[in-house]
Amino acid sequence: MKQGKYHKLDAALIAVLILLTACSVAPYKPAPLNVDALRQRAEVQSFEPLTVKAAVPSAEESKVLFGVPLYDNGVQPVWLEITNGGDENVRFALVSVDPDYFSPLEVSYTLRKGFSKEARAAMDKRFHNSGITRFVESGETVSGFVFTHLSPGTKSFNVDLFGVETMQNFAFFIQVPGFKPDHAEIDFKQLYTRDETRELTTEEFRDSMGELSIYTANKDAEPSGLPVNVVIVGNGIDVLRALLRAGWYESIAASSDKTGSGQETYYLYGRKPDAVFRFQRKNSVDRNELRVWLAPMRVDGEMVWLGQVTNFVGQRSYIEQVFYGAHLDPDVDDARSFLLQNIWYAQGLQSFAWSNAGKSIPFDQPGTDFNGNPFFTDGFRTVLWFSGAPYSLLDTTPLNWDEVPGQ
């Protein structure tokens, strides 16, 4: 009796196995690995005697290169070519590109489903051979891929090369074909005429704080949005680089009047944000959102951006979103203080100041914006001078404007 049962079970098992094996027969025949296009468009950086070329293939290109859809699986290959023209050997640290990079054989193993045994071996070979090596001997050039986590938008990464006594950092910001961030759709030169943009000294800038909008508006220009709690000084490229280095992601242009959180868009200067950046928390789907608008003023020749930073919480799972949507953390000051610390730790902050906009809304009598989000605030803005190149934490200068909030 028992015996019979086992036989039946075995038969079922064999049937399943046959079925499984039958599915695993896809061949693996990618085109020969051709990186000419990547090499041609690669960004080149040199610090004598070292040269690094870098390019990031798009989703489509990656599929052609490796014969499997890497982007769909959260993997983004980065192509590098390192030339060592010096006398000593150097070592390339893969973790400088992505601290949690995938090993080549890890990528091929996770994508092996459906392929035949021979195909899997061929895949392993393709991935293993295309991974970059760590050692670059004197006079040598090496090239290959690092398999990183997919990040939307401009790819920001470092390439660190170590000699015995030296370390050279290369910082790359590379646009990936197929992704057009919101700010790339805006012609910033057309936003204001030359006469409209005021040139200010830092002192005049400080005096003009009172003229800035305290709140963002809805699309009918009623100032019933959230507090404008951030002012950023820095040219576009520097602001972008500082944010990318600190782990913020770009967004694509909104096609509707809804934000990514399903709420009505916030307006300033009669328009939607020029750019929206998101900071994803590592262990949850909570995120910070920074919306910025170019202001018609320049400080010591640098652009000025008004911003609103908030923290969206409570989006753990799909079902929760369906029922409750996004939930704005009412403590908008905390989001502001998060941004300040985040940029400072990422070495993107030259100096900062506090400016009292004078509209404090206490915790026990919260305000409500036009989206129905309750919020409270001490009424201060943080004014941040961004640096595109790394700026040492210890050199960041606090400016003595208004008394620091919370005292």
């Binding site: 973790v95 949850s284 403590d331």
Partner: protein, 418 residues
Amino acid sequence: MKQVNLKSIALVASLLLLNACASAPPVTPDNAGDYFARARTQVEDGISVTAAVPDRKETKAVFGSDLYKRGVQPVWLEITNSSDRKVTVLPAGLDPGYFSPTEAANLDLKLVPGGKATPSMDARFVGQSLDTGVDPGETRKGFIFSALDEGTKGFNVDIIGEGLLSTFTFFIQVPGLHIDHYSVDWSKLYAKDEFQDLDADALKAYLAAQTCCTTDKTAEGDGDPVNLVVIGAPREVYAAFIRAGWDESETITTGTTWKTVQSFVGGGEYRYSPVSGLYVFGRPQDVAFQKARDNIHERNHLRLWMSPVTFEGLPVWMGQISRDIGVHFTKKTITTHKIDPDTDETREFLLEDLAYSQALAKFAYVEGAIPAPIDEPRGNFTGDPYFTDGYRLVMWVTSTPVDTNDVVFIDWITPPDL
């Protein structure tokens, strides 16, 4: 992307139920258990920092909310400023993705109709949070809400003031897990006179002579290559790995088996899952660390065995590291983790990982494992093939941060092609 599953629906139902009958009494830190007994104090530049980490139960008692379940862990700080300048505590130094008090207050409640904390909940969290500015002569105390770390919580408290940046590093054990190395009696591993202090040449010879590979219980068979050597006192070793974001491992109990099964089926994270025993010196590893990546199937595992030799007075550990890249079925153990066959890649990853976490002072290589080229791979116990150049990476780890640029390479031998 998380999917809607039965678990979520059950969770919704149970939370609705809980909400209907629960009304937590107000609790203050003063009557919330004895996590203060585990508090640690450090003093520097005229600033005293005391830190304590309540466990799951204590946290529930303080906040009336199961924050651990939501991945949030409050850290209690008391800052006394005896200097002559105003200082500020930076929560992002403790956790770059720290939670605001109102965010923490709302995390456990968002499935409840309305999805918002009551004003009294918000007030409890805001009221107990730390005011980050501390004037001269003043003391401030309260909580910062960080991402959950069970086992040992390693964190920095960064304090800035005019011309001042002080970092206080804490490693605080949080009760609740059965961590493997808590139960190792270090004094009993070897007799005192068994330890031998070696000079560099003798150490190189000793390391090259040690077993190539791990064995099974019966000291037979060749398992994964013993591809690491770690030099440092137990506390330094453990602080270095915690600093680099590695998690400790629990011992196997019914509870931990159940947690492993749950995360295996759900693919979720059980960061502290027990690590199977591999043998060196005739015993399973003294301590295992793991670094979870995207899910339980993809993580790195590292095992260490204390050896009976010391170098310049510091304990020398043999070690083995592997990168799990998935799961497969075996006759021996039913399921096992598939390891990345390129074990040298994994070894070099660890070197970079520790160096970038400022936990590495020096490194070198020695021979000792058996070389296996890619086209003639060797196999471990569960039949996984691996290839290696046969070198062991020797790492001097440290709990005092060492700048990545200042890590010293000791040129005993250089593997020809990494």
